[in-house]
Symmetry: C2
DNA sequence: AAAAATTTTTAGATTTACCTAAAAATAAAA
DNA sequence: TTTTATTTTTAGGTAAATCTAAAAATTTTT
């Protein structure tokens, strides 16, 4: 049984490990809004519990148990997000903080029934995949919008940034999940991208394009 | 802003205050499965925060702020219980522990939307009234089944004991909310009560009869 | 009203998750 | 390969919520 705080550490390590193999103390500290010294303390504790492998000065990796625990928290987080959007009519930019709390409710029964109630969704409101109760989920094949060439088209299926500001911005532009887009031009000057969205031409900054994930349906 | 623990103290004091005016340290300790010394510490803290009135050795009472906070937690607890039973098909004896956790999720928006989603229910699965968002709720007029005289009849509208064992027992006997009953006899020997439930004669112990709440529809 | 029993509080410790400041290890630059 | 910079850890301390054991206040009984 893990504490609220331990669960948050595991989740953070899990997410950081999606980008780098060995997760660094400082990276965890920054993500968790705490100090490196505190992270070292907690890492030792998690190592004692067999949830992470830890060699001094070398960063951490999750053990299998640690990873499973983290995936379970991610599953809960994403299911609650679906609940909030689908059933309680929250917007996709409003759900993160509440889900941060709900993900720590400990009841296997609750989550299984919630999953069923929601119709076993495969993705959360931001397009992130929801692990099934065995922790399995499809490794989704995304391409960042910024990587598309002029003429490429595809469907918006996710975002790699969950800040409210970013999501609200996308909403305003009409760039929501499921929308079809085609890249019509890339500006040399600032790298901004011109796209075609339901016959309208819109321009998005390089920064925005970096965080929109596309499931490509081929060139041209 | 209260901590998880502070909220639980306030809620416990609130419930104890429904029976006695001045809530005693020992009573709180027993209810919260902790030691009197710990209770004294916490009471001081709550008094400093203006949530309870406290005179040494004289027990505590909630201030208006304290009471409102407690009522808000009770509201959340009961709404979540309705959610669990109505939407996720939990049984009435399975919801208490999960609701104990869910009641601490801090989001006004969440609770208001949940309330709406559930259709603004007036009572939880055990018949306990749900305060509205302003903390108001009808003081329900209950009579304990044990207090009924032979010939009296009424509708089961609540229970004053929420243990899983008790609720399961009632379920098995068919004594669920909304059922009509009539007292047909009271045994001298052990005080057990014979009741008529949809034309069937059933016998319940004095102990059980004490915890069934009836909204009486008059004598005979 | 004194003695006994009960209830409540104080005093001093413990655990968890933090912190700051300084030391140690590692990585990068000159 | 030293020097410098960065990262990480250790050491020692704090605040929240708990504990045990002992002292103090209150209540009950004789």
């Amino acid at each position: 049984m893990q504490s609220y705080t331990e669960e948050n550490y595991l989740k953070t390590i899990y997410h950081l490990a999606e980008q780098t193999t060995n997760v660094q103390t400082n990276a965890i500290a920054e993500q968790m809004q705490t100090k490196p010294a505190s992270v070292t303390d907690m890492i030792k504790k998690l190592a004692d519990k067999g949830l992470v492998d830890y060699i001094k000065y070398q960063g951490v990796t999750l053990t299998e148990i640690g990873r499973n625990t983290a995936i379970d928290i991610v599953r809960k987080h994403r299911l609650w997000e679906v609940f909030l959007v689908d059933k309680l009519n929250f917007k996709w930019d409003e759900v993160h903080d509440v889900a941060e709390e709900l993900e720590h409710i400990k009841s296997v029964e609750l989550i299984e029934r919630l999953d069923e109630f929601l119709g076993f969704p495969k993705a959360d409101p931001h397009g992130d995949p929801i692990p099934d109760k065995n922790g399995r989920f499809a490794k989704t094949q995304f391409i960042k919008l910024i990587e598309l060439k002029v003429g490429d088209s595809g469907t918006i299926t996710g975002v790699s940034q969950h800040s409210s500001a970013f999501l609200k911005h996308l909403e305003k532009l009409g760039l929501t999940l499921g929308k079809q887009i085609q890249v019509s031009d890339v500006t040399d000057f600032d790298g901004s991208v011109e796209i075609l969205l339901s016959n309208k031409q819109i321009n998005i900054s390089r920064e925005v394009a970096k965080h929109i994930l596309i499931s490509s349906n081929g060139k041209n």
